[in-house]
């Protein structure tokens, strides 16, 4: 077989066929390839982002838990302090009350003793007067000797 126009014509057709493939077939394949690459890249990115977000959330949760624990400790401390204060205050108040009650009772005791002493004095005075009148065998005028008697009672 000789080299002739047949092969030239076939080569021309082949060139057109290649042009056709380049313009109408390859772009579709290319697009499919690029779409796939984009899809995979997006998927990987999304996964990475989700991973980072999860890690960030984890650290945030840890920090939050730490903070909450701190706050709880502070609250407990403050409550204990307050309780101590209340107890102290109550103790002081109780002591004050006790002292007040004690003072009142002592006053009462003193006044009652005074009254008892006065009564006793009067009774002793009266008794002394009776005794004296018996000794003197006569009626002693109480009114005339009142001053004397009172003097006597005071001495007792």
């Amino acid at each position: 077989m000789d080299f002739n126009a047949t092969l030239i014509g076939e080569m021309l057709s082949f060139a057109i066929l290649i042009w056709f493939c380049v313009h109408f077939i390859w772009p579709h394949l290319n697009k499919a390839i690029e779409d796939r690459q984009v899809k995979i890249a997006e998927g990987l990115n999304a996964a990475e982002r989700a991973h980072a977000e999860l890690r960030e959330a984890d650290t945030r949760v840890a920090a939050e838990i730490k903070l909450a624990r701190q706050q709880a400790t502070e609250i407990i401390d403050r409550a204990q302090q307050q309780a101590n204060q209340i107890i102290d205050k109550a103790r002081v108040e109780a002591i004050v009350e006790i002292n007040r009650l004690k003072a009142t009772a002592q006053d009462d005791i003193a006044s009652m003793a005074q009254r008892a002493r006065d009564q006793l004095r009067e009774q002793v005075g009266a008794l002394a007067l009776q005794g004296a009148s018996k000794i003197v065998q006569r009626e002693v005028d109480a009114s005339t000797h009142k001053l004397l008697l009172d003097q006597l009672a005071a001495e007792i």
């Binding site: 077989m1 000789d2 080299f3 002739n4 126009a5 047949t6 092969l7 030239i8 014509g9 076939e10 080569m11 021309l12 057709s13 082949f14 057109i16 066929l17 056709f20 493939c21 077939i25 394949l29 499919a32 390839i33 796939r36 690459q37 995979i40 890249a41 990987l44």
Partner: protein, 267 residues
Amino acid sequence: MASEQGGLTEYIQHHLTHLTPHASKGGFWAVHIDSISVSLVLGILFSLWFWLKARKATSGVPGRGQAFVEIVLEFVDGQVKDVFHGDRRVLGPLALTVFIWVFLMNAMDLLPVDLLPWITEQFGIGHFRAVPTADINMTFAMSLTVFVLIIFYSFKAKGFGGYMHELFTAPFGANPLLWIPNFLLNIVELLSKPVSLAMRLFGNMYAGELVFMLIAGLFSAGSWLLYGMGIIGYTVWGIFHILIIGIQAFIFMVLTIVYISMAHDHH
């Protein structure tokens, strides 16, 4: 090339002659060196190409080459998955090999029909047919391999007894009178698979090649008008043929999957 009818006939006959060893002079040992060498080269190209991409495959964003291989792989695997519900570790690669290899061999049809013969002629080789799938030996080689796999998987899936039981009782029933008709029908069905598989691919590619040659005959018709029509016709048929080579490769792959998955089915 002469413009009279005899020239075209001679041209086509020349192009339809396979490259065979000089010593063989036809007969059984007239091996078609052109079909074997082209199919081997294409098979090695396909293997190297996919092997390299698979070796360098990353789980990250794929490069363009890897993305293309992944798209092809996903497409083939999807076809297998649709038809065959079992272990795809053998059938998947088989389907991929069939698809890409047949596609590449078919694609040889798009090369100018005189280009490879002209190149080989420079080295003193007179006949060279570039399209291995337009050689009935090649298509039968593949379909008979599929046939062997059908038999193998039939035995593997059903066991010897089960397969024999199916061969003798399947379509009509288990009545002893029906054993022979059942068996004959099953044999016909079985044999028709490789025959139809091979003949379909061979017929399409042979016819396609022949149309290319007929159109190429216009180039030597001796008029510039016919020469221009030849270029247009050759290009249009080439563009149409892109569709055919893809479809034929796809059909061969799908039927291979279907036949082998049918071998797994119990009746």
